[in-house]
């Protein structure tokens, strides 16, 4: 019997983990990645919640024992997907043609473009950054300074930027931003022990084990202050610091606070790849634009298209644990499909 081939679309953690497992299960794997390197968002991340584990460790373990039999194609964009009987024929922008017996879509997410939340002034005010920017600073070991080169004395983390916000077009909760904010606040406090750090939140959704503990530690040990209230708008003061207006909903009073640095916790949106591949394959999108499996509970990897499977955060916001577990579970489903 000829070895069956699976094309894995997207080389982030889900795609890499699934490719490895597929290869270990004896399948030919073609891993297609539109970017220059594998690893996805993990490449931009410094440390992970809740235990501040270096993201590099995860990347390293994803690369470790990466079977040579996997055909990795980076900087590859798929332009069309056709079918010939049970086989898929993928054409790329580079005019490559890939044939596969099954497709696994691991196209993941992108973060919300904070510029769209105009009133927060990202890209306009000097000292407004996103959680991704801050993580990049951490990763590059850049000293945390304001644009004027000062050590910030007050820093505000704004939760739910682009999430749970119909005005931004997104109804969903991005799930991981709450704990990310707490993690980053703690890391920042470690670097700037004198700074007063605030988290402005609507709800704190500490859904994972160890998250609530981190939250508690952030209050007790790092004295991060949590203020329930969503930022309505931010303004720039003469000195470049920011004036934030929130309602302190627990005192039921509008609150004005000056912050030297404002960090926007940008949420999860379906990646461009998720949108493009979903359209090429004619898959169903859920109201938030993520890909909809046939049955969220019972057939979480199956789609309306036979032979096309889903894994990872192309289906919706997920933390890394869930993403990797989902990838491994998708492999089981594909093996079942291809061996029957």
């Amino acid at each position: 019997m000829m070895t069956k081939t699976v094309a894995v679309i997207g080389g982030g953690p889900a795609g890499m983990e699934a490719s490895k497992e597929l290869a270990f299960n004896g399948f030919q794997v073609v891993l297609l990645e539109s970017g220059a390197r594998l690893g996805g968002h993990m490449n931009q991340w410094d440390r992970l919640f809740p235990n501040k584990r270096p993201a590099g460790e995860i990347l390293e373990s994803l690369y470790r024992n990466f079977p040579g039999s996997i055909t990795v194609m980076t900087e590859t964009n798929i332009t069309s997907i056709g079918r010939n009987a049970d086989r898929f024929i993928l054409r790329t922008a580079g005019r490559d043609v890939i044939e596969a017996d099954a497709l696994l879509v691991c196209t993941g997410f992108r973060v919300f473009d904070a510029i769209l939340k105009e009133e927060y002034g990202y890209g306009i005010y000097d000292n407004v950054i996103t959680s991704v920017d801050l993580e990049q600073w951490f990763k590059e070991k850049r000293p945390v300074l304001t644009s004027h080169g000062r050590v910030p004395a007050t820093v505000g983390f704004i939760h739910c930027v682009g999430s749970r916000d119909e005005k931004s077009g997104n109804l969903h909760c991005s799930k991981v931003c709450c704990v990310t904010a707490v993690k980053q606040a703690v890391e920042l406090k470690e670097k700037l022990p004198e700074a007063r750090i605030f988290c402005f939140y609507m709800d704190l959704r500490m859904f994972g084990l160890g998250y609530e503990e981190l939250y508690k530690e952030s209050q007790e040990k790092y004295r991060i202050q949590f203020i329930r209230g969503r930022l309505s708008e931010a303004f720039e003061n003469m000195d470049g610091s920011l004036m934030a207006k929130v309602e302190d909903t627990l005192t039921a009073k509008p609150l004005r606070i000056n912050l030297d640095l404002l960090v926007l916790m940008v949420g999860f949106l379906p990646s461009d790849g998720t949108a493009a591949i979903g359209s090429l394959l004619g898959l169903t999108f859920n109201p938030n634009g993520f890909l909809q499996p046939r049955d969220g509970h019972l057939q979480p990897h199956d789609t309306e298209q036979q032979g096309v499977f889903l894994a990872g955060s192309c289906k919706g916001p997920k933390n890394l644990e869930e993403t990797l577990a989902d990838a491994r579970s998708a492999v089981l489903r594909i093996r079942q499909y291809l061996t029957n």
């Binding site: 510029i115 105009e118 005010y125 000097d126 708008e233 303004f235 003061n237």
Partner: protein
């Protein structure tokens, strides 16, 4: 402040502004408090730019004030609006230009309602017909008068006799701009530059040589608030709102405030006087106030019109300090003389604020 960030945003909020053949509707408030402003607009449009601007004496209030004071129902407002459009169509015009920001907001709101709820448009047409027998029509373009001035800011700059530059130091004059809430906060896409960082007035100031300063409470309401002002006991809210803005802008030492709404210049101007009377506080250098101008008045100054011809004498905060900075020659004795040298009378001298 990253200006390129703002510019990127402004590019997303470019609206279509008709170029000529305007049907002009007036503002209830401005006709009374700053009558010169509308006159200057017509003069610039017709005399300087040679545009066709038509006014129909039969047009009425848009009912926006009543609507926002909760005393005119929306259905009534829609019918009145439909009549204005009908007048425009009757005169053979398609481009609707409003002097008032609240009118602009109301016209936009009505049109959007009709777009989303066609049955409301049908209803408005029916009501219009039943009430007046007029045919129903819709404009192809609705612009605010400040959009038009913005559109022709380069032409005005080309004819400018004065620039927004301190004639002694050569430094650009610093202006803060205040956009009426109903201009873009309801429909950001209908304002030049959007709602958060509107460009319509910024574009004029920059084009005419000045520098815009942004300040934390820029987005805050001027304090009109309709019901807040309309009921005397509530006027304290209105006053407090304006004060909040003055307190916030004062550290930036603005030379003038530029507005595009009927209520805003009114309150930003008059409340400076009231605050000076109540608390002795003034916001300009020394005991001066910060002069407040409408965009037409500013355009008029730039074009070299006589300050008293464009009605600057009716401002509560004396504009003379600004005129001096711009190097505009004016006749101090002519301030209170109306057409034909007729003495108009002058207000009582305030206790604390500089007044000429």
């Amino acid at each position: 402040m990253k200006i390129e960030g703002k510019k990127r945003l402004w590019q997303q909020y470019q609206k279509e502004i008709a170029g000529d053949r305007y049907f002009y509707v007036r503002s209830c408030v401005r006709q009374n408090f700053f009558p010169g402003a509308e006159a200057v607009f017509l003069k610039i449009m017709q005399d300087e730019l040679g545009k066709d601007v038509y006014e129909n004496p039969a047009h009425t209030s848009c009912t926006g004030i009543g609507y926002h004071c909760d005393i005119v129902p929306f259905d009534t407002a829609m019918t009145v609006v439909a009549r204005q459009f009908s007048l425009m169509a009757e005169a053979g015009y398609e481009n609707f230009v409003t002097s008032c920001i609240t009118s602009f907001g109301l016209y936009s709101e009505v049109l959007e309602t009709w777009n989303h709820f066609p049955e409301k448009q049908e209803q408005a047409a029916r009501f219009l017909h039943e009430a007046t027998g007029r045919p129903f029509a819709r404009p192809s373009n609705v612009s605010h008068a400040s959009d038009i001035i913005y559109k022709y800011r380069h032409e005005i700059a080309a004819r400018a006799q004065y620039r927004l530059v301190n004639s002694l130091t050569g430094e650009p004059l610093k202006g803060v701009e205040h956009i009426g809430c109903h201009y873009a906060k309801m429909f950001p896409s209908k304002g030049v530059g959007g709602a958060e960082y509107p460009y319509v007035l910024v574009g004029m100031i920059e084009e005419w040589g000045g520098e815009v300063v942004d300040y934390p409470e820029r987005r805050h309401c001027c304090g009109f608030g309709f019901r807040h002002y309309a009921v005397r006991a509530n006027r304290g809210y209105s006053l407090s709102c304006s004060r909040k803005k003055f307190e916030s802008m004062q550290p930036y030492k603005p030379d003038f405030i530029l507005t595009n709404c009927p209520g805003c210049p009114m309150f930003l101007d008059r409340w400076q006087y009231v605050i000076s009377e109540m608390e002795g506080k003034t916001y300009g250098p020394g005991n001066e106030g910060i002069p407040v101008l409408t965009y037409e008045e500013l355009a008029g100054l730039v074009l070299g019109y006589d300050p008293w011809d464009i009605g600057l004498q009716v401002h509560q905060v004396s504009v003379e300090p600004l005129l001096k900075k711009m190097g505009i020659a004016y006749d101090p004795d002519g301030k209170y003389l109306g057409p034909g040298g007729k003495y108009l009378g002058r207000p009582e001298n305030p206790a604390n604020i500089y007044f000429v």
